[in-house]
């Protein structure tokens, strides 16, 4: 009996892993086409990480994904990276170029944590005011992080590209939250020509583009 349970669990995980592997085949090919073989390798590495993290605990998933994107994306301002003041890139673009700014980290982490089955209400993209250069610094910067609530009233964990480890909000006195959002109640355009839909907000626009990149496994 124990064997059967174990076996069926293993089988289900295998199927889920295969499903993810299959689903990432298209983004990998797209990355190769756009950014070269190295980019494809990074996508494939992400794919094996996802398979690896599938059975892990939520905190394990958070650690894994946070570390992967912090390690694989170098911080560059949008002006330098894209030539515009602000651009919300899809994970494929960020991983392909290996570059991104704060919201690109948050978007990538959000996307794949959702892919690993973490519910929407536990994750939030949050605009924060960051104090740069120690507790007495007068330098503040607009910044974006991904935060995680284990329960609705729990103290959140903060996934930040400025700090490599995940810390609880009480330990991040340098950050002041301003506003947070997730995809609850959000309508994502079904059109493949998302850029032509001027009515979409920046957030729903990037979510639509993510889906158009072939990463389709998070739902509202």
């Amino acid at each position: 009996m124990k064997h059967i349970t174990f076996f069926s669990c293993f089988f289900l995980l295998l199927v889920a892993g295969l499903a993810i592997a299959n689903s990432l085949q298209q983004p990998a090919n797209l990355a190769e086409l756009r950014y070269g073989n190295q980019a494809k390798q990074r996508i494939l590495a992400l794919e094996s990480l996802l398979i690896h993290l599938q059975p892990a605990s939520e905190s394990g998933k958070l650690e894994g994904i946070n570390a992967f994107f912090n390690d694989n994306i170098d911080f560059v301002s949008d002006q330098d990276n894209w030539g515009v003041s602000d651009y919300w890139a899809t994970p494929l673009e960020s991983l392909g170029k290996q570059k991104g700014d704060c919201e690109d980290y948050s978007i990538a982490k959000y996307t794949f944590l959702r892919a690993l089955g973490i519910p929407d209400e536990r994750l939030k993209m949050t605009y924060v005011k960051a104090q740069i250069g120690g507790p007495h610094s007068k330098v503040y910067q607009a910044h974006m992080v991904l935060i995680y609530y284990e329960t609705p009233s729990a103290e959140p964990l903060i996934l930040d590209n400025l700090v490599s480890s995940i810390l609880s909000s009480s330990r991040r006195t340098d950050l002041r939250p301003v506003f947070s959002f997730n995809s609850t109640g959000l309508w994502i355009g079904k059109s493949t020509k998302s850029s032509s839909l001027k009515s979409l907000s920046r957030w729903s626009d990037v979510l639509t583009r993510i889906r158009n990149d072939g990463i389709q496994y998070f739902n509202n």
Partner: protein
């Protein structure tokens, strides 16, 4: 269902389909647009409100104030705030509903934009979720108004299109209606023709119909001509073209006995004393041409006077009969003169002579006595002129003949004013012995309590004094009065030439029959053959006036203008009455039998009923049905 109706329905169906398709697409597009706009507004408003609340103190009073401020100053269906565990913190719900828009419309269209949802933070902690939905009233109102306008304009455009369409349809279809009318007319034995329409298919059809109509018409004309020829051969002398003795006798007798207008006439007989000598001297063919010239001259003379008819009694006897009283000696002189001139033989034959004598004819004289009369005259032609004068019967002159015009005028006018007019009554019976109508000649009482006089005794004066139309009108009024009294009776009334021309008579006829529509089909109006054909345009106008009123129209005394019978078929007549001269001794005359049969054939083929006039004997009456006569009248019909 008529063609025009079907085409109409087709157009209507197409228009309804086109309009409803555009209408549905229009409404759906508007609905989608409005829904998208509302969704964007919902999201934006939720985010900006959540942002504001995130930035401020989260005491319940402030939060409630914030929500109220947003709710009261905006257009919202609801604004709801729930905590992270999905428990309601506070909400605002609108209760107003737009009653202007009917529920069925709301249920059918259903504008349901997604609500806007946004997160509210309290520092790092989650404070709650804000969701709000804008009011859809404005969207419904907009859509409802749009829908009503679209419907209204669609309706107006459809109406205009319908009017234009039906006009065009009518224009296209019109030739078809004319052709249907023509076909029906052919069915009713009326052979008219129509103008060829422009539409190709209609054109060929109309042409074919016209050809058919013309062909049948020609056939009738040919038949009429053949009949005319038969009549000539049966009743007219081959050499002179004058009436044979038998036919002449019958015509004279008919005048005397059957013509109500006859009161007194003159018979003139002219005897060519040395015909046999002429024959021997000139040879048969030369003598025949002399006779022919004489016949033509006599015929020509008589044709100039409508009251005269001429005949060749025997080889050497010519006769002229006047149906009115004229100066007999003058007539003798003129007849003799015409014959002399035509013969032109005085120089070649010393003893070429014509002996002419005359006799006044009274109403009372009968056919048998007429034959006797003619033979008397013939024997007397050798007698001296004084002897002939002695033959004049002057005893029967009535008292009225001495009256002058003024006296006559007074008497006739007083009779008309006092309505001293009666209608006589002679039944006309069908072959099944059923009375079709009563012939009703007028009887007038000139002086109070005086004798009732037949038309012949006063008609000449009435005609001279221009009172015939008034008399006819009085007769018509009397007839209509009788018809009102007796609802089973049908009456035939004579319409004289003067009445036919008289607008006053027309107006009264129109008025009386419009007032008494129920009696119109029991009133039979008849015009004599002579009157109808000599005044054909007027007769046609009269028919066009009288026919729509519903009365029966006919021509009486048909007999001498058979070849023109075809001209009657477009007038929509109902019957003809065949002159007594043709009916007389019909049982013994094979020629007249064939002739009468032909008349009936033509009459039936153009849809006319045939009535025989002046049937005298049971033998005559018995012979009529198989010749095609539908009904009869006369002394033998009682």
């Amino acid at each position: 269902m008529s063609l025009i109706k079907q085409l109409w329905l087709a157009i209507l169906l197409i228009m309804v389909l086109a309009f409803s398709a555009s209408f549905i697409i229009n409404t759906a597009t508007s609905k989608n647009y409005l829904e998208q706009q509302l969704e964007m507004k919902n999201t934006d408003n939720a985010v900006s409100l959540a942002l504001s609340i995130s930035q401020m103190e989260k005491d319940p009073v402030s939060v409630n104030l914030m929500l109220s401020a947003q709710f009261d100053s905006g257009h919202y269906e609801y604004i709801r705030l729930t905590d992270p565990n999905n428990q309601l913190i506070t909400d605002r719900v609108s209760e107003e509903a737009n009653n202007e828009i009917p529920n069925w419309f709301k249920n059918r269209i259903q504008i349901s934009p997604k609500p806007g949802v946004a997160q509210i933070q309290d520092g790092w902690k989650q404070y709650g979720v804000l969701s709000l939905a804008s009011s859809t009233n404005f969207a419904y109102q907009d859509l409802w108004n749009g829908t009503r306008w679209t419907l209204l304009w669609s309706g107006i455009i459809a109406l205009v299109c319908g009017v234009i369409g039906s006009l065009i349809l009518k224009m296209i279809i019109r030739p078809l209606n004319e052709m249907v009318a023509l076909t029906e007319a052919i069915g009713n034995k009326k052979f008219t023709s129509i103008k060829e329409p422009h539409t190709f298919e209609f054109k060929s059809l109309a042409r074919a119909l016209n050809r058919l109509s013309q062909k049948i018409k020609d056939m009738h004309n040919d038949q009429s001509k053949l009949l005319e020829q038969m009549r000539l051969e049966a009743n007219y002398d081959k050499i002179t073209g004058l009436m044979t003795r038998k036919y002449f006798n019958s015509r004279v007798a008919t005048h005397i006995e059957n013509n109500d207008n006859f009161i007194e006439g003159v018979l003139v007989v002219s005897h060519l004393s040395n015909l046999s000598e002429i024959n021997q001297t000139l040879g048969a063919s030369e003598a025949d041409s002399v006779l022919k010239r004489m016949g033509l001259a006599l015929e020509g003379y008589c044709n100039r006077h409508t009251t005269l008819i001429a005949g060749r009694l025997t080889g050497s006897d010519f006769a002229v009969f006047s149906s009115t009283a004229i100066e007999p000696k003058a007539l003798c002189g003129e007849v003799e003169h015409a014959l002399y001139e035509a013969a032109g033989l005085e120089e070649r034959f010393d003893d070429f002579s014509l002996r002419t004598s005359f006799r006044d004819i009274k109403k009372s004289e009968h056919l048998n006595s007429l034959k006797q009369l003619i033979s008397t005259i013939r024997t007397k032609t050798n007698a001296s002129e004084t002897d002939i004068l002695n033959l004049i019967n002057q005893e029967d002159i009535t008292i009225y003949e001495n009256s002058d015009a003024a006296e006559w005028h007074a008497m006739l006018t007083s009779a008309i004013t006092a309505k001293r007019l009666q209608l006589a009554s002679f039944p006309v019976k069908s072959n099944a012995d059923k009375v079709i109508h009563y012939e009703s000649p007028a009887r007038l009482q000139l002086t109070e309590n005086g004798p009732w006089l037949a038309a012949g005794e006063f008609i000449a004066w009435a005609s001279q004094l221009g009172l015939v139309a008034q008399l006819d009108l009085l007769a018509l009024e009397t007839a209509i009065h009788t018809l009102e009294q007796d609802v089973t009776r049908a009456i035939a009334v004579n319409v004289s030439t003067s009445a036919m021309f008289d607008p006053d008579y027309h107006a009264h006829l129109n008025h009386l029959l419009t007032k008494n529509a129920s009696i119109a089909d029991r009133l039979w109006l008849e015009v004599s053959e002579e009157s109808a054909f000599e005044n054909l345009p007027t007769f046609i106008r009269f028919c066009e006036l009288a026919k729509p009123l519903g009365c029966q129209l006919g021509v009486e005394h048909i007999g001498t203008r058979i070849s023109r019978l075809g001209e009657l078929h477009e007038l929509n007549l109902d019957y003809i009455k065949i002159d007594a001269s043709i009916i007389r001794s019909i049982d013994k005359s094979p020629g007249n039998k064939a002739f009468l049969k032909g008349i009936c054939l033509i009459a039936h083929s153009i849809g006319l009923m045939t009535i025989a006039e002046g049937v005298h004997s049971a033998q005559e009456l018995a012979a009529l049905p198989e010749l095609g006569v539908d009904a009869s009248t006369g002394p033998a019909v009682k």
